[in-house]
Structures are given as structure tokens and as C-alpha cells.
Subunit: 278 residues, 3 copies
Amino acid sequence: MTGLFTPDAVATTLERVRAATPLVHNITNIVAANSTANALLALGASPAMVDAEEEVEPFAAIAAALVVNIGTVTAPQAAAIARATRAARAAGTPWILDPVAVGALAFRARVALDSLAHAPRAIRGNASEILALAHLHGGNAAPPPAGRGVDSLETAEQALSAARGLARATGACVVISGATDHITDGRRVATVANGHPMMTRVTGLGCTATALAGACLAVEPDAMAACAHAMVLIGLAGERAARHAAGPGSLQVGLLDQLHHLTRHAVTHEARIAIIAD
Amino acid sequence: MTGLFTPDAVATTLERVRAATPLVHNITNIVAANSTANALLALGASPAMVDAEEEVEPFAAIAAALVVNIGTVTAPQAAAIARATRAARAAGTPWILDPVAVGALAFRARVALDSLAHAPRAIRGNASEILALAHLHGGNAAPPPAGRGVDSLETAEQALSAARGLARATGACVVISGATDHITDGRRVATVANGHPMMTRVTGLGCTATALAGACLAVEPDAMAACAHAMVLIGLAGERAARHAAGPGSLQVGLLDQLHHLTRHAVTHEARIAIIAD
Amino acid sequence: MTGLFTPDAVATTLERVRAATPLVHNITNIVAANSTANALLALGASPAMVDAEEEVEPFAAIAAALVVNIGTVTAPQAAAIARATRAARAAGTPWILDPVAVGALAFRARVALDSLAHAPRAIRGNASEILALAHLHGGNAAPPPAGRGVDSLETAEQALSAARGLARATGACVVISGATDHITDGRRVATVANGHPMMTRVTGLGCTATALAGACLAVEPDAMAACAHAMVLIGLAGERAARHAAGPGSLQVGLLDQLHHLTRHAVTHEARIAIIAD
């Protein structure tokens, strides 16, 4: 299985996305809606942001993947998430959860936990979010210091044990974003070391990583490989953009340019992906 | 009448927008709200995004034009659209409909069809959307393959016959966006060949075209001319931006810069507008 | 007290924001959500956009500052604003109101006026918005010509008298944005002359100024100084960006780059801040 966690495999997933232009259904927040749609287009996928309760069921069923992000969740959107995730599961549409700031607020914690009953294929968050979700799923209170919104006060390494447990308990692959990303299905662990520190100064890049993982889930049946590949693709686009960026504004723009131009050659030479437990 | 479909007439509309800075009322989606507001400002208009049910009636009445986009329509926004379009018609405010992904989802199809009763001055979509709306308005099911969200699987040419019928049935000018845009009032047909293929990799540029058409409707009483002029202006800004853009991120930014700097000279020398049926 | 209104004091506030990375809770509009989050990150703060009625009370209590912007207010968001501002007051979280287009529409006027009962630390608007809010707060109708959305048809100077009255009546510091910004607590008046005319062609920069003022309120207890410092910081970033910008699209991007790179040296040499009444 380790052949899935190689630069070559990442390049193949990129080519599959471009060939299939998968329709990616996003239920997302008002901050990242534009930038994630643009990132999906730049990668080669076909994004659609649909979150009306009246529309999500049929759309999740026809989509190639569903991305659920609770960054600005409201009660109507929570109802839509419940319907969409149930419909995705019934239709066999792979879906991924981004539990933004889940440890800070009880309402979104409830939304995230309820959604786990509908069998997400993957979950992506920073270390604080994954730690909080794992604790909540285990019936415990989220650990402090979860009150810092989307900032992660833990390192990815510290959260890895919690992530493995969450993956085993839910059946979802779990991604912990950080300077080095960790991706686990509960048994295997892969790491991705692409990216650039300035990416933390651009809003919504975590949400974008989740959305790209949705596109990869549409073409790669091994969810852990799909997620790891997506983390390489956004990290690589970000580090290439950072070489020319004058600051975080330019980085946000350049990342889209780089995603659009990523080649098999660039991916195979610059991907930093490894499997550390198999 | 053909004098309306000339590069000179486009330049005159641009100058009128800049002189009048028309207040353009937008009821739009969460993806394109920022980019369409910026495009209206860059063109020289004054955008306002107002979609609360409590606010749309007085605002549609004082606005110079109303733009209705159903890209992320919800039940409350649908109620606001019903109120706003009725108020616009009563006040004589010209309004334009962007039936985003109308063929894919029954809820938004209902919202779009209901709005047609309030006499839009124009409708702009891609070929799939116009085909779907025409079929739905005729009492038929939307044709497959409408399930691809905002992607257009048809060419503008194929949808022209449906567009002419829709225009005659509704009294609205109909714009079919594509590599070559087609604009018809049911009798006349104009084409616009400005634009660049990379524009399809930037989210919300269809929505932006509709918003710019709203600004032009505020200053040009011939709706078909107003729409054709708007398609030239966005296409020209896009193709000029594409000369310098490193990818779709840069293109989105450069398009705003170019809209801001468009001159009569550039428009008269580079507009590719023609009338093919009069 | 005049030492607070010096380039040195602005640089100190900037350094304090970067050292504290204050969590800034935003209840804002769909147009400016992305750009204000990015501006807060570029400055060095930690933004979170949270506007669900179920979430705003605990979040306003743990945040270092709250920013309330009524640009696309709806009934559910109005309910959230009422809860959040009450909770902020109770918790001692400083909060700032951006009364976008308050003179044009009765619904948002009611929302803005009701919020004033919860003791905002500051209010920022253009001259038309401040004039309208002052009139409404005094029990009068908003003056014409308030019907132009976010455009300001008055000059900051004309609105100063109304702003002083509003500040005295509410206890909030009042900022009138314009070519020269005026900031008053009812007694003192400061001016900030940084900025660039092209900033008026970028959507949401007023909203961004308000959000940055929120970040400064989190670290500077003198609300009038915090607001004046924020106006310097955004104005300076904007004028530095304008030197290299090809148009309003580039300006929006460059402003974020410049915010990220602002130094004590740049601020102390280029801030144009003065106190004109003490």
C-alpha cells in the first residue's frame, strides 16, 4: 500500500482530477466560499456551493464528493448538513468534514458530532480541532485551550494519538494540518511536509485544503491517500507561490496560479510525502 | 438600430456608467459577493448588496438597477427576491436575472420561474442554464445534462433557438455566455467575441457579467444593447488581464485593474461586437 | 493625553497587536468577510467570523474585541447582534459598530440604534452614515441624501459636529472616514490623513478599517487612540500599496501585503496623525 504515498501517486491523483473534473458539492462558510471555489477550479475540479435545505439532498447525491465546513454554521445550515451528509452516505458520495473551531463552541460541536453518524470518509482540522473533536466524540468535554477560534495551540504530533482513536472510532481518515501534516486511518500514518509558514497568515487555507481533499476523494478510493495527496498539492502550490509573494495578499493570489500550473514534473520532484507507520 | 451594437456605443455606455455611478442593488450569492462588488466599483458604478426581506423593497425602488442571482439561494433569500422583483417592476427599476445552475435543482428553478412574472429586463446564463430555463418556462422538464452545476455542457449556438423563444415569451433580453456570447431580444441577435478561455477557471465571472449588465441597464434603455455592452466590457477586461496573468488568481485581480482603466480608445479598438440578425 | 496621538503611539499599538494576537470576533457582511479576515491576519490579530445566534454570546465573552457590521444584516443576524453586544458589555469585551448604509434603510437603522444601548466603545462610518446615525439617535429622521448605499455624499468635516454629539450621547468614540479621517470622543478631536483615493474603489475597506479598530481596541484602552491608530495603519498600508498597484484589484491584494510588513520605522516616518482639539 505504500505506493499510494509517493510523489508519483500524488501526480496521478492530480491528473485524475483534471481528467474527471469532479463536481464537488460544498457546504461552507462565508469567509472561504470564494477562495475555495477558486482553488477547486484552479486544481481542475468543478465546485458548487449549495447549502439550502431544499437543495442539498439531490445535489449531494449527484455530486462526486461533498465537503462540509462548519466555519460559520447557523441553524438552517446545520439542518442542511444533516440532510446532505445522510444523502451522501446513501448515494455513496464520499464526504469530508472540516470541524472549524469545534472546541470553542457547543453549537457547532453538536453539528459536527451529529454528522459523524453519517460516515464521513475523512476529517481535516488543525491539532486543536482534532483533539477537541476526538474528546467530544469520546463523550468528554473538549480540552482547553480550545477557545482560540481557528488557531491551533497544539502541535500535530501531540494530536496524533487522538486522531488515530478518532479514525478507528468513526471509520474516517483523519488529517491534522500543521507545519508537517499527519494523516491517519487509525492504523497507517503518513506525513506531508510541503507548505510555507506564511500560509497561516491567509484566511481559509485550511478550508481550501479540505475542499481539495474532497476533489481527491472523488477520484482516489483510498481516503487516506486522497487526503495526503491533497495536502501535498496545496502545500506545494503554497510554497511555490511563497517564493514570489510580497506578503499574504500576494500569496493567496499566487497559490491559485500555482495550483493551475502544477505539473507531474513539479509534483514528483517537490512532493514531501512519507509513510511513517504502515 | 445597429448603431447600438458598435464599439463606439459600448464606449459611450462605459462613459455613461462612470458619469452616473448608478446604484446597483444586488441580491447575490456568498461566492461572488466580493468580486461582483469590486467589479461594479472598478467599472464606475456604486454597488450595494442588500438581501434582507425587510430591506429589499425600498432599496429596489431607489436603486438604478437590480441584479438577482440565485447561486446560493435559500428560502429567506427567495422571499426577498419575490419582494424585490415586484418592487423593481412597480418602480420601473430595470432588473436582470442570473439563473445559476437552474437546471440542476428544483427549488431554484421555482424561484427563477416565479421571478419571471415580474418582468426582468434581461436574463444572463450559460447555454445549459438558458436551455434549462427555457424548457422549464415552457412547462417542460429541464433537459439533461443539467446536473453539472454552473458548467455549461452546451454551446451558446445550440441554445440560441431556446433563448429567442424565452425572450419572446418573457419580454426579457436573453444573454448566452460562451466563447462567443449571443444576445437576443427574440428578434435581433448580437454576438460578442471578447474574452479569454482562462476566465472559465475564475469563479463568479458569470455572476460578474450579470452585475455589469445591471450597471449598463441603468444607463442604456435598450436592454439588448446594455447587455451586449456589458459582455464586451468584461470580456475585454478579461482578455487584457490575461495578457499579463500568471494564472487564474492573477486574472481575477487583473480583471478589476483593467475594468478600472478601460478607455474609449481601448474599447473602440478592441471590442468585438456584431449584430447578426436585425 | 496628546502623546497618544503620535506616530510613535501608533507603532506601539501595532507591536502590541502582533504580540497579543487578539482574538477578534466579527459579525459581518458576506461581501467583506474574506477581506476583513485577511486584513486582521495580516495585521497580526486572530479573526473569527461567528454570527449564529447559538454561538455569539459565549464567543463575545471570550473574544478580545467584537466587531459588528450591519452591511448585509438579516433578521437572524440582528438577533445575534443583540445577544453578542449584550454579552460583550457584560464581559467587558470592547466592541465597535460599523453602521453600513444606516441612513438608507429603516430595518438596519433599528438594529444599529438598538445596539447602541449596549455601550459600544466605538462607531466608525463615512460622513453620511455618521450624520444619519446621529440624527436617528436624536429621534429625528435620517437626513437626505442617505439613499446612496455606502457612498458618502458629505465630507467628514460637515459631519464632525454630529459626531461629537453622538459620542457624548453614547459614550462611544466616533470615527468619520474620509480623505481626512476625524476621530472624536465628544471632546477631543484627532485627524488622520493617511490613505489614497483609489481605496474608495475597493469594496469593504471601510469594513476593514472597523475590523482593524477592533483589533486595536483589544490592546489600547483609550478607544479614541485605538481607532485613530487603526485609521493610520489601514491608510498607510493603502497608500504604500497604491504606489505599486495597477488598479483597485492590485490595491486590495497589496494592502494585505503592506499590512503584514508595516514596521515601526515606516509608521513613525509616514503616519499623518494629529490632535486638533484636546
